[in-house]
Symmetry: C2
Subunit: 721 residues, 2 copies
Amino acid sequence: MRTVFALAMAAAIALPTHATAQDATIAEAAEQRAYPPLFAAEMAQAETFVEEMIAAGVIVPVPRDPGGGYTHEQHKRNYRAMLLAAQLYELTGEPRYFGFVREMLLEYAALYPTLGEHPARANQNVGRLFWQVLNDAMWQVHAIQAYEIIRDELPAAERERIDNDVFRRASHFLSVESAATFNLIHNHATWATAAVGMTGYVLDDEEMVRSALYGTAGPGEAGFIRQAELLFSPDGYYTEGPYYQRFAMLPFMVFAGAIERNQPELRIFEHRDGILLKALDTTIQLTYNGYFFPFNDAMRDKSLNTAELYEGVAIGYAVSGDPALLDIARFQNRTVISPAGLGMAEALSAGEAEPFRFRSMLFSDGPDGDQGAIAVLREGTGPNHMALVAKNASQGMGHGHFDKLSWQLYAMGEEVVTDYGAARFLNIEAKEGGRYLPENESWAKQTIAHNTLVVNEQSHFYGDLALAEAAWPTQDWFHVADGFQASAASIDSAYPNEGVAMERLLALVTVEGLAQPLALDVLRASSETPVQFDLPLHYAGHIMRLGFDLERYVDTRPVLGSGHGYQHIWEDGRAAPDEGESFMTWLLDGRFYTYRFVPQDGLEVILGESGANDPDFNLRREPVVIQRVMDSSDATFVSVLEPHGLYDGAAEQTVEGDSRIAALRHVEADEYDVILIETLAGETVAVAISWQNDPAASHRVTIESRELAWQGYAARFSLGD
Amino acid sequence: MRTVFALAMAAAIALPTHATAQDATIAEAAEQRAYPPLFAAEMAQAETFVEEMIAAGVIVPVPRDPGGGYTHEQHKRNYRAMLLAAQLYELTGEPRYFGFVREMLLEYAALYPTLGEHPARANQNVGRLFWQVLNDAMWQVHAIQAYEIIRDELPAAERERIDNDVFRRASHFLSVESAATFNLIHNHATWATAAVGMTGYVLDDEEMVRSALYGTAGPGEAGFIRQAELLFSPDGYYTEGPYYQRFAMLPFMVFAGAIERNQPELRIFEHRDGILLKALDTTIQLTYNGYFFPFNDAMRDKSLNTAELYEGVAIGYAVSGDPALLDIARFQNRTVISPAGLGMAEALSAGEAEPFRFRSMLFSDGPDGDQGAIAVLREGTGPNHMALVAKNASQGMGHGHFDKLSWQLYAMGEEVVTDYGAARFLNIEAKEGGRYLPENESWAKQTIAHNTLVVNEQSHFYGDLALAEAAWPTQDWFHVADGFQASAASIDSAYPNEGVAMERLLALVTVEGLAQPLALDVLRASSETPVQFDLPLHYAGHIMRLGFDLERYVDTRPVLGSGHGYQHIWEDGRAAPDEGESFMTWLLDGRFYTYRFVPQDGLEVILGESGANDPDFNLRREPVVIQRVMDSSDATFVSVLEPHGLYDGAAEQTVEGDSRIAALRHVEADEYDVILIETLAGETVAVAISWQNDPAASHRVTIESRELAWQGYAARFSLGD
């Protein structure tokens, strides 16, 4: 029988000892066709798909259609089919798989030289096979991997034809002719350099490899190596956010795997303190119950179950042998049919998985880690754990939203304080062909659509991208301790015209006698001129109880405003609550949540819902509560979100449907803010904030004849009853 | 060791051979404490709860609070704890469990004689331990089962005390003092007769048993036997609907079990052709993926996972040995720790379960089966099967909704055409103490809140219960065949003032080339005077595409009307669609649905959403589309609901996001209606309706030079392309 995975790929990408063990396993498994269940299932899926493609015949149409159209989808199917067929050939030695890849590549060799600019060009970055060059790069990343497997067994003439008429031409197009994209520091360039670099290794073309690694102009500010240095922060955070980080991981991991096999001396996986594996870990950490935090332009239904991460997790495991990655593969219940996928599936079957630890972490943003951060606070483990996400990162390029210092909260398996994500229905023809919708600009990106401060009904940076990209918050503090986890950040450049400064502490605070921690939110803002401050909270749930009397708009619903997203909010009512009334309780999936806030001077509360001025029904209709202070040059918003109780419809049982907090108070003492939380059972917890991140600085304040003393930014005190 | 289940209960309730086998199993299992996993888990849960109750001490407070209050909940906990403790005593012989039940009953013996009318009386049917007599009966149904287990081992003096001061007094209260409730034909009376009858068996009191079986006035129009004859239709349908049917099953099954043990000569489970087991089967049939069809006053989160049905399924299996009930127990993953529960759990562990067959069935309503019906059409099996529910039943007493000829549709695991259920948040103090909300009357019960015809913006029977109870639809036809399943019904008494007659055919129609059947809805109505006809469809999903140009209300949303539920609908827009434009597509949970209708003369389409005039945020906000014909004395609404395609956010894949139907046409030919459905692929299917349920009558019509000939009510024709 054939030597399985005998070609370059079989050298694997792991450290020597690890690789040897893996190779032995692969050969053995193949000989007996005794694949572990996960791998066998994946092979079966691949076989079904490839057999369908073989049965349909090799179809390589002349490019014509834009995204979603026939020729677009056919070329996508073709590159998936070629890679899977080649991998199946490696595994089974079946000549039909070899023949399919060979025939298809010969068809592409006939087609490619005839191509000019794609007729359905969408923007300046036009492709050949596809309407945009990005898709051409994706095609090549897949096709070159297929070609690598069959190339040595082709007759010389065919090999030469495919080398020259497909891959050299395509590489020239991606690197030289599309140099503008190729030399960017951007995920599109990562795809392009991966395509060209991997082609260089297969064709043994040093210049191709060099330009992929270092850019077309030679070592400097471009190429794959530089991308790995600039696109990720030192903590492995990709500036566009988790949704795009996931997308970028595939070319990063696949090309790095090829570099490791071909130029192990580059130690690519050790580059920059192991940034690629760190980025993989960070990608996974930026999820709750498998779903990516949906901030910035993100599809909310995107989870760890995505093709990019099947590949990424397999390669990551091959390199690191980290048993926690097996836990992720188990969650995914999918893999890839490469040597890396087989090695991982074997280890998983051998019971080597260990739990992936989702934990409280700070992810700095920016190449040097100094452009803000994403802070993730987690309490507990498993599907019901609590997670608070503070978005103190930089703008994240064109897909970024104008929401500095925003946050989200997850509890009991649900997103309770929500981020809208992108206004888009991916690939749904009826919704503008699946592209970003107009409401993505007019609503999803605007500040009022997020959980952060809006001044004068204008978005941060007035919605100006250039202004937004030039500034970012400062992550002032990050603190993880039993009973008190916190993140604090500030920014004074979001409203340069008004001279607004804002700082915000977000924390998970344990309170004696309460089963779950509270989410505490203290946001203080000042302005050089009197302004209107709005602090929205977007939540999921059905209102159960309002503490305040609401002027309720039951038969006509005003629209809240006229721009910057305000035009999309229907008002349900307004209130001016007193102390003791300033709370509301909602029910979500059998759990209650009470949002409680301190009624600072002049506070008005507005309840509303998204969906106004939405002619094409593009928006989801979701509730929002807004705390508003008008005509003021400073404001401090103190709020607490309290998960409580249980509603079990099956058992007809309700427990603790009402808040267990008696009072939430805010005391300003000198330069300090002290928050007092009193439970109905009589326990009191205080959180004292200095707003100064000098860990050595001592602070002291006397509140109601109790003295609170602490060092550093903030502290929690159990005051008993 | 103790003989397990040696007392009366151990005689079991099954047929002799079955019972013997079960007894042997029980003794054996107990000796080894080798219980099957389901039973062992249930015991562990019971032990945890009972140990907590024992640790808290015996607490029997003087009654004071209404539903949800402290004394109410404590007495509920007490009766659950007594029954479980007694059952645990049977299983383990632990004296602590015996002692707990004994002590608690002695406390009740001290308390009960001191009680008069409950201080928090809610209505005329006031209880002693609870605010309403129903809860007293529920208490006794549980307590007497506990007492039965320990009674023989009590000292004579204690036995006498508990006999007299608890159970004789309580039985006297339920039967003699509350005779008005006791002699009703109503589920409250079922609980009361069960309590008194089971007490009679335990105390060996023939008069108690007699009055429970036949009413306090002797054999005649009351008592348990008469209830079993009048409350269920011959098909085992309980007139209030599935939600209340579930609730009624517990006393029916538990008391019947006791009758079978004590008076096997009554052959209670064979009474009226086995009505009780039939009713159990019907209860289960009235679900989709485990959830009860939520029509009439129903909590939508109520499923087969409910205490009443754990008991019901166990007893039902003990009697019938039907292996399909094991499938239900497997779904529930819960049981009861009685002999019946153990026998069932043993059989389940032994792998004896067979799939419960959910199938297309007609359930007649009314004691004689002549007061309309519920028709259920199912296509396929498993969690993704399609189910159409036609509600052609009688009013169903005070919890009935005014929605004659309404329907629901389930597909791909979801309720697509929806029923609102009740406007109520059960047991949630903040929502009117958990009682039915005002919006239950003003919205949930009104016709416009359902999927059926509304005339002149008034509900059926003008919302008058007495009028509604005096009339019901006629189930004209029910037909189950490959490719065409249908239900047809009519009513001419819903609008007596206007003289409106309406008849409706609802069908699942297979169309060549479409993966799933279509739901076809043909409703024709006539009126003695010109009226306004409104046909609403309440659906779940997000609008993807409108075939018609909508006059869209984007910045002010009118309220649709002023009464009969219309005051609760916000308008989103109106249209007057032409042929070819008369459709809309929405997305729900990864699947697309297109609602398509024939634009009959003068048709106006209104899109709206519930939630207007809802000051306390009591309503869910859900979309509706209304077909309207004004100032007309007849109308025929022809509509089709088409499930199609797939949206997979994880794989970023969309398939068939648009309808595959090219045209929907309605041809009136003589007295016949013919519906033509043409697909984009060129297939045509016709449904021809004679509206005459004479199976022998022949019909013939020529449509576009094709002759369609059929017999009976209606038929489907494949016309090819």
